[in-house]
């Protein structure tokens, strides 16, 4: 929803939701509304993890339990103030979020599902078996209810309280996820390696997503325990974890309205069908089975599809200006020309018997365009991966701009000033062209988590400045008119160029381009030569891998040649072109010398 539409719709929705409990007299309906709110809170948090950061969890009932039992134990056993216990439950659940995040970071796919399932079951079993503390099936009675003054909340007070919490959560989520945090989560979701390469720490954002989802789930658990004034181990089941996940996926992950729709529809359905438990489970199963087939983007995707047809104006993105100022790096970011920028010595990397990088020394000088050439399998990309921190070298060291970067990981190296593109495109395909570039600006947007979540003025100012700079970068590369297009839908040649734009947004001192002309037609290749020349005039040093020799010869000041992992020549383009070893590497030798034959035999087959 656009900013203006939200500005009007939100207060209206708030008034309606706060008025609704007064219109409902029936306790049962009030309870249903309370549960809608509770499930919305849990799902809104889980959505950050599942829909945005793309991490699947089948164990969030465990975090719900952490919140519920914290509130229960603190009030019933230790006599804490119920409000204090309520807030403590969010904190404790957050800590559990870290506990589950750390193992989860090491695994992907089914193994991640297993870790989260395992966590959920461990929590469930602890609640069931450790009866001394958690009461097991008998549960914990007289949990302290929230209260104003002496009387505990009545059902209507609970509903009002939950509605207020939901409204606040909605606003917080909205400002957090619309800005740089939302983009970074989505970037981690679509292409982890690319996210790292633009300075987004995958580790940090995954942990953060786990914590956010855990805190929300913990509050949801505490609400239920304190409203019922009772909790037992039957509240914590594998089925509940699936229900949370279903709310997000059925409603529509990756949209802040998905969990809302999901929570409303599923909770109401649950309550309505509760009279026929048999049918309830059938519907539940059928929904799981068919809903995602019929609506891959969830309810919210389906609604949006219809909405777009009826009110196209509501979904229009802010227009793109036709002219913007020229993109410039700040003076302080310029380096002294000709000085050595990067020096790597004795880099060595082996995968079993294959040695894609064999004692390579390279030296890169500020302001020049360097090319890295060599036959297929020569180890060019591996060298680039080592320089950009994606692959750690076995031996050797790299000093970039006075800093030893040998041991550093990708996102850190990016922040020091090395940007890169990928041979196999790694764009954030579902995001717009503009957002892709804005992810690139991430390391330069220094507003922290809380200002972003609270939507402070400094956060929105920085967002606006980021947007303007991203537009300037797009203009610099001739992509301005495409700013609102979805990146995955661009023609191939423009996708390659968008990768360069994203890398430039990180303000690199050294730009690594991995086969930027692969798959381009002659016209596009020609334009690329110009683009590289223009990047060079900005004072940005370039190291590129290419097979198009005319491009290499046209743009390079200095050429490195790799063959079977070793550097066999370097120098000015013309020099390298004339080098007999280079010719031999590319075309083979005319005379089969005896030692050449042994070399061929010794070469690994699958380089």
């Amino acid at each position: 929803m656009g900013r203006n539409a939200h500005l009007y719709a939100f207060p209206v929705a708030a008034v309606l939701l706060l008025g609704l409990p007064f219109a409902i007299g029936n306790e049962f309906y009030l309870k249903v509304m309370f549960l809608v709110g509770v499930y919305y809170l849990a799902a809104a948090g889980l959505n950050v993890l599942v829909g945005y950061a793309g991490q699947k969890s089948l164990g969030h009932a465990g975090l719900y339990a952490a919140g519920a039992y914290t509130a229960a134990l603190l009030t019933a056993k230790l006599g804490w103030n119920p409000w204090l216990a309520f807030f403590a439950s969010g904190v404790v659940a957050g800590v559990f979020g870290i506990v589950i995040a750390l193992p989860s970071l090491r695994v992907k796919g089914p193994s991640l599902a297993m870790v989260t399932i395992g966590f959920g079951i461990v929590m469930e079993k602890i609640a069931t078996e450790w009866t001394d503390v958690f009461g097991g099936q008998a549960g914990i009675h007289s949990v302290g209810s929230l209260r104003f003054g002496a009387d505990p909340f009545a059902m209507r007070d609970w509903v009002l309280f939950v509605v207020v919490l939901c409204l606040i959560s909605h606003l917080l989520m909205r400002s957090l996820l619309a800005g740089k945090y939302g983009r970074a989560f989505l970037a981690v979701h679509t292409a982890e390696v690319a996210a790292e390469s633009v300075g987004v720490s995958v580790y940090r954002f995954k942990v953060l997503a786990f914590i956010v989802s855990a805190v929300f789930c913990g509050f949801a658990g505490a609400l239920v325990a304190q409203q019922n004034q009772y909790i037992n181990s039957d509240f914590v089941t594998f089925g509940l974890s699936i229900f949370f996940l279903l709310i997000v996926l059925f409603g529509g992950g990756g949209s802040i309205y998905g969990p809302l729709l999901g929570a409303i529809v599923l909770t109401l359905m649950d309550a309505f069908l509760a009279r026929w438990p048999h049918l309830q489970h059938f519907v539940y199963g059928a929904l799981l089975l068919f809903a995602l087939y019929a609506m891959p983007d969830g309810l919210v995707g389906a609604v949006r599809g219809i909405g777009r047809k009826i009110f196209p104006g509501l979904y229009r993105r802010p227009p793109v200006p036709t002219a913007v100022a020229e993109w410039q790096l700040q003076r302080s970011e310029q380096l002294h020309a000709d000085a050595p920028l990067l020096e790597a010595k004795g880099l060595y990397k082996a995968y079993g018997g294959v040695v894609p990088t064999n004692n390579v020394d390279i030296r890169i000088r500020t302001g020049h365009v360097h090319s890295l050439i060599g036959p297929n399998g020569a180890g060019k990309t591996t060298l680039l991966n080592i320089l950009s921190g994606i692959v750690p070298p076995d031996r050797g060291n790299i000093v970039f701009n006075g800093v030893d970067t040998t041991e550093l990981i990708s996102n850190h190296i990016c922040r020091l000033g090395i940007g890169r593109t990928f041979q196999n495109l790694k764009l954030f395909t579902d995001m717009t062209v503009l957002d892709n570039v804005m992810v690139g600006l991430h390391p330069h947007m220094d507003v922290g988590f809380w200002p972003c979540m609270l939507g402070t003025r400094s956060a929105s100012r920085q967002e606006q400045e980021g947007r303007e700079e991203a537009l300037r970068i797009l203009d610099f590369l001739g992509l301005l008119a495409k700013a609102n297009d979805i990146a995955g839908g661009l023609p191939y040649g423009l996708q390659r160029r968008l990768e360069i734009a994203r890398a430039l947004a990180t303000h690199p001192k050294l730009l690594l381009l991995d086969e930027p002309a692969a798959g381009l037609n002659p016209q596009e290749t020609h334009e690329l030569i110009e683009v590289i020349a223009r990047i060079r005039t900005k004072g940005i040093t370039v190291l590129l891998i290419e097979h198009h020799m005319d491009l290499v010869m046209a743009v390079s000041d200095h050429v490195f040649v790799l063959d079977y992992g070793a550097k066999i020549a370097e120098g000015a383009p013309a020099q390298v072109q004339a080098n007999p070893r280079v010719i031999a590497a590319y075309l083979g030798e005319e005379v089969a010398e005896p030692d050449a034959a042994t070399v061929v035999q010794a070469r690994p087959a699958a380089a």
Partner: protein, 305 residues
């Protein structure tokens, strides 16, 4: 000492069930990169179909009380044939409704759809057989056999023997036969396999049929020990899944190893503190995955950049 031997023996039987079901996960994972999260309910279906066939053959209707003399080996084996027919069909259904629409799609869709399929099966079973568990005596009788002081049920020996037999047979089929080679080719690279003239959809369906039948067999084997219950599936399948993950989901022998390991660990810990059995298993899994994310015998996947 005797207690430990006892625990090892029943651990091996339990491990056989886990290994069978884990093997089913492995087969579909290798061919489609998906697996049935509702496999527990397939286990339930297997147990009930088997028990019901034995009941019907004894002329007792679909819910009744079986006496030990009712359950002969012939009837038990007929139950097995029925399971292969019914569960095989369910496997095909599962593939077409819950897996095929989502294969290759991003996200969790297939996890949710297979769970949904399982819930539908569970409730169908609940409708037919009701919530009460259905007991079936072992076809080999209930006389405890003494081995070095430890007692073991004949059914436990049967479980162990059948599961080892099935695993060896599957291993041989995979490694020695043409169809096994086709399955392995599809597992490595679907497109290349198709270009070599292998009927990839048929192999994939076969994988789901075999996987479902393995779960059904697991259900039939375990029923005489635990009784057949509509609710027994989830825990068993989750542990089998853990076994697969610990051993290495992409390696059939890893899955078998994981299954037996888990069975042994579970019954040995049960010896010490019964209530810590499940907690310690799942904690162990998390630890194993942190140390060796690809599983004990799994292959490390290096993402190409």
């Amino acid at each position: 000492m005797e207690a430990i031997l006892q625990a090892v023996l029943s651990g091996l039987a339990l491990g056989g069930i886990y290994a069978l079901v884990a093997l089913g996960f492995n087969i579909t994972n290798n061919t489609t990169k998906t697996l049935n999260f509702g496999q527990g309910e397939f286990l339930v279906a297997g147990a009930f179909v088997g028990v019901t066939l034995v009941l019907v053959l004894s002329g007792k209707g679909h819910v009744g009380v079986l006496q030990p003399e009712d359950v002969t080996l012939v009837k038990y084996l007929t139950g097995l044939v029925g399971i292969i027919a019914v569960l095989g069909t369910l496997g095909v259904f599962l593939y077409y409704t819950a897996v095929k629409p989502f294969v290759g799609a991003a996200g969790l869709a297939w996890v949710m759809s297979t769970i949904g399929f399982g819930i539908i099966i569970q409730n169908t079973a609940l409708g037919i057989w009701g919530p009460a568990p259905l007991a079936i005596p072992s076809p080999l009788g209930n006389e405890v056999i003494r081995i070095g002081g430890a007692g073991i049920l004949p059914q436990e020996i049967l479980i162990f023997a059948v599961s080892v037999l099935v695993m060896v047979a599957l291993d041989l089929v995979l490694l020695r036969t043409k169809i096994g080679k086709a399955v392995r080719a599809v597992a490595h690279n679907k497109n290349a396999a198709a270009l070599m003239g292998i009927n990839v959809p048929a192999i994939v369906i076969l994988a789901f049929v075999v996987s479902s039948c393995l779960a059904g067999l697991g259900g039939l084997l375990v029923a005489p020990i635990t009784t057949a219950s509509v609710f027994m599936g989830l825990t068993l399948a989750l542990k089998a899944f853990s076994a697969a993950i610990i051993g290495g989901l992409d390696n059939p022998r890893g899955c078998i190893l994981g299954g037996f390991m888990l069975g042994l660990i579970e019954s040995l810990i049960g010896l010490w503190h019964a209530e810590l059995r499940e907690i310690s298993i799942f904690v162990l899994i998390i630890v194993v995955l942190v140390v060796k994310p690809e599983g004990l015998l799994g292959r490390k996947i290096v993402e190409k950049v």
